[in-house]
Symmetry: C2
Subunit: 190 residues, 2 copies
């Protein structure tokens, strides 16, 4: 990927450690921008769904929302395209050092990712154990497998280490989940 080199050099004046400790969401935002400007993949975060109940028009040019409520998203937060394939995922953080509580994932998100996989897309979660500074890719297939075979309300860290893929902590892109997808679905070696 020669384009990576070009992008790196254009960032060379920025302190590479300046953004350590950012949230997973911010890291993904930066990673998706990296993929976009280097024409590697096109992935965007969906806007937060809001029900608007009151809007003011203080000027002809601008509307101001004066009353609105957050809605529960019916799907996941991220989707896009990589090498022609539809990809779809959500990102979750946990402060637990031992397991990922499944109540972090809405049942309709599981159902949505399951449908995506059935239609030939790549569905997954990105889960970060913030206190361990470990970020994992776990496919919807492996997630469903766990839920089918266990009554536990949380997925142990060991399951991620065994059945998921740890995403290396890099400078740019910070959360290189496309590298994992490339290995898993496009014949790259692990």
């Amino acid at each position: 990927m020669q384009s990576i080199k070009g992008a790196r050099s254009s960032f060379r004046n920025i302190n590479p450690y300046a953004n350590r400790g950012m949230t997973l969401e911010a890291d993904l935002e930066a990673s998706n921008t990296f993929y976009l400007v280097n024409d590697i993949a096109i992935v965007h975060k969906k806007p937060t769904p809001i029900t608007i109940s009151k809007v003011d028009y203080p000027s002809r040019l601008q509307a101001v929302i004066r009353e609105g409520y957050f809605r529960t998203p019916s799907t996941t937060d991220y989707n896009g395209i990589y090498k022609g394939k539809y990809i779809d995922f959500d990102a979750k953080e946990t402060k637990s050092k031992t397991s990922f509580p499944l109540n972090n994932v809405h049942p309709h998100q599981i159902k949505h990712l399951e449908s995506i996989a059935r239609h030939g897309g790549i569905g997954f979660l990105i889960v970060r154990f913030t206190l361990l500074n470990k970020t994992f890719f776990i496919s919807i297939e492996k997630l469903l497998e766990f839920m089918k075979n266990s009554n536990r309300k949380s997925i142990p860290l060991e399951y991620f280490e065994k059945e998921g893929y740890q995403i290396a902590d890099k400078y740019n892109p910070r959360v290189d989940y496309i590298e994992v997808i490339n290995k898993l679905y496009f014949g790259g070696k692990k």
Copy 2:
């Protein structure tokens, strides 16, 4: 598609003419729901992007947005998956009877759809001439071809009739754009 039959019969008590004259957006919402419940395709409209600048918490359970502003979307409104393929489009209406003004489409939307096509996805517009009650599918490739070969600021109706595909006005799904995609990209006959 045997599932269509089942869905139709479950709607049989509803007056088929009750919703005539709805907006393209409402028609697409109904069509996408039809595709979803019949497991034909998974396509969602993205929420409107909003910048929130003030939130109240009148109770522990609910947040109320007290100040927010509409942002310009950086992509298109609709995306999803059909038969494993990534699909991405925007929907536009015009009251003109003769041509579709190109200032209805933001340059970044054109650029976005162009990238989608380059990455192997299916990018297009759905354009409705509301006063003619005609709705067309036009691929990003045909849109770019027009813009490359013409300095006109609007696309004549004839171009849609020749290079696009008129989407039949059906009961359910109301705007059956998947039928067009099936013909164009999956070897169905016209």
